[in-house]
Amino acid sequence: MIRVQTEDFDVSKEIKALTQGKTHIGGVATFVGLVRDMAGGRSIDTMTLDHYPGMTEKMLAKIEAEAVARWNLDASLIIHRYGPLSPGDQIVLTITASAHREAAFEANEFLMDWLKTKAPFWKREGGKDGDRWVEAKASDNDAAARWSR
């Protein structure tokens, strides 16, 4: 499942809802991305996420389907927020559930690596010196490339 929303999310509720009744699941890996208060030595007061409605949902669904196929996951969830956020706020949640932990851990890393380079979101950070669009990092491309085959 994927969700793109402005509202916050409750990690434990999402895990419960996702795994309810699926007692063959032996491991659940979760990742939560938060808004940092510093970026490249610059103090951040606000972060606003722009995205491409329609394509965002399509890409997230594709990324999730790829993870489910590669690791044969029993359940998965991606939630990504957009709109105005503040330091400490949750931005993104990835949950991967499988019979064994290896698949859950690996698939979760994969989801985040692909999401970072393929999901059409753009971050804008606001500080005392004004607003700035975040630039893409080469290290994110390298992280995504390790899953190519």
């Binding site: 995205h51 491409y52 329609g54 394509m55 393929k118 979101f121 753009w122 893409a136 994110d140």
Partner: protein, 83 residues
């Protein structure tokens, strides 16, 4: 066709969406970028670094040489920074 702009392209061009009808000799993304960049200083600025601007045709990532014939929605944006 509908053209969409996101992030700083939207700010430089001053709009997030517009309808355009490029001439028949504009056949791919690269040519469309050249054509759009001529439309004004905001466009020229937004497309100044051709290497950095990414594109999508009908919500699928598209390379410079991707044909635009039959496309209904083409989007331009910087490299993504979500997650």
């Amino acid at each position: 066709m509908t053209i969409l702009y996101f992030a700083w392209l939207k700010e430089k061009i001053g709009k997030d969406e517009e309808q355009v009808d490029p001439p028949a000799e504009i056949t791919n993304i690269g040519e469309l970028v050249e054509w759009l960049a001529q439309r004004g200083p905001g466009y020229a600025d937004a497309f100044a670094d051709r290497e950095i601007v990414r594109a999508a045709i009908d919500q699928e990532f598209a390379e410079t040489d991707a044909p635009i014939e039959g496309a209904t929605e083409i989007a331009f944006f910087p490299p993504v920074t979500g997650g």
